[in-house]
Symmetry: C2
DNA sequence: GGTGTTAAATTAACGATGTTAATTTAATTA
DNA sequence: TAATTAAATTAACATCGTTAATTTAACACC
């Protein structure tokens, strides 16, 4: 018994519920393990209906990621008001890590899965827009600190600094996600690992490393 | 026209050729995009033959990874003779990164794909054996440097240091693999990113950071 | 109020996948 | 020569992403 002719609002609602169902399942069991049919069944629709809202599974995945990117960006945005620049950078990293470790499957989707080079065509997110793009925000803080000569002078490129800070936190989080439960490694506590990484890399980048001791 | 009754040597040879074909295809096009039938066709066998040598696709994948882990470990092993401890640590990181970036799909298989917690049952590799386990080697160098009091004294746990060094390099490499071609980010040169990370994190960990300037 | 038109959903179907069952082939053993 | 058995094959199954064809029902107009 198919209903008919929906308002634009209803269409939007259905689209959102598809995304939510997809995310829940992706996060629960991994992307490849979830079929379009399952996603559809979860919201009591037939599989083909999904194709009226998304071109294919990849497009649906991209939509899920988009929402998550936005959420991450808005969470990050709250930290931008911290007055002390270095504290702001530290809080930024910590908040990012908490997001990653609380939503490991989201994080895997977003930053650990090589996908078609971030389909700029499909994605809704405008790169560089600090409202939407967490990386753009990181660049902003780092640039401020860079302009205030807080970093070692031989580093000429502030974007390189941002990328290094990002990679450091990403390294800790993604290793934890991939191998955190692996008996092969006797992992130290994740907090210890994160803290040491953050302190070490900052000490190595800052002009006055003792300022964070 | 099926041949028949193989010597144990022949069996081993076929097994190896399956692994090689699988690796080649996995690396070329990614794990999920490659079917058992394709792997089989590449060596002129039917798909079911693979199942006489590997329980399923995952077991075949594990076998591919095992070989790669061994290769990585043996490559690392050559560096262990460098006399200077810090140079050895640096060379270790560099060699690791070169491996990761030259064989991104291998690397993805090995360190970026959450799989059943490193099936200690299935894997051939003995964790801790420095002949087979690159991480065990890293621990060894780091412990030596730790015992020589090269690191900051407030860091009490040498394994934590090893894990931080690993995460730093992994962060740079895995971001490059996932997003290196993404127009969203204006990446600095990968060499720059690697070098800055290595210098920064070492400076942050070492008792005498100026020793690497 | 009936009649098209059209959007939204459905069922049916296609080709490909991982995997299993049943079968064939041929070398070894008795 | 006959029986056994390992190694391979072909056939088949259920499921996947996806497309085509079809049905359902709300609206616009006469």
């Amino acid at each position: 018994m198919p209903p008919k002719v929906k308002s634009l609002e209803d269409r939007e609602k259905l689209r959102a519920s598809i995304i939510d169902a997809a995310r829940t399942l992706f996060v629960e069991r991994g992307i490849e393990a979830v079929s379009m049919r399952e996603i559809a069944k979860k919201i009591n629709y037939s599989a083909t209906t999904l194709y009226h809202h998304f071109a294919d599974k990849d497009a649906l995945l991209q939509a899920v990621c988009d929402e998550d990117f936005l959420k991450l960006a808005s969470r990050m945005r709250e930290l931008m008001q911290l007055p002390n620049l270095i504290e702001r950078i530290q809080a930024f990293g910590k908040s990012y890590a908490i997001f990653a470790l609380r939503h490991p499957s989201h994080y895997r989707l977003m930053f650990m899965t090589p996908r078609a080079p971030c389909n700029l065509d499909i994605t809704q997110i405008e790169p560089g827009n600090t409202e939407q793009d967490a990386y753009a925000q990181l660049k902003l803080v780092v640039k401020e600190a860079f302009d205030a000569d807080l970093f070692r002078p031989e580093i000429k490129n502030f974007e390189l600094i941002a990328q290094t800070l990002w990679a450091a936190t990403h390294g800790v989080c993604s290793l934890e996600i991939t191998l955190g439960n692996d008996p092969w490694i006797q992992w130290a506590e994740i907090d210890e690992r994160f803290n040491l990484m953050q302190r070490a890399v900052l000490r190595g980048l800052l002009l006055n490393p003792e300022s964070i001791d």
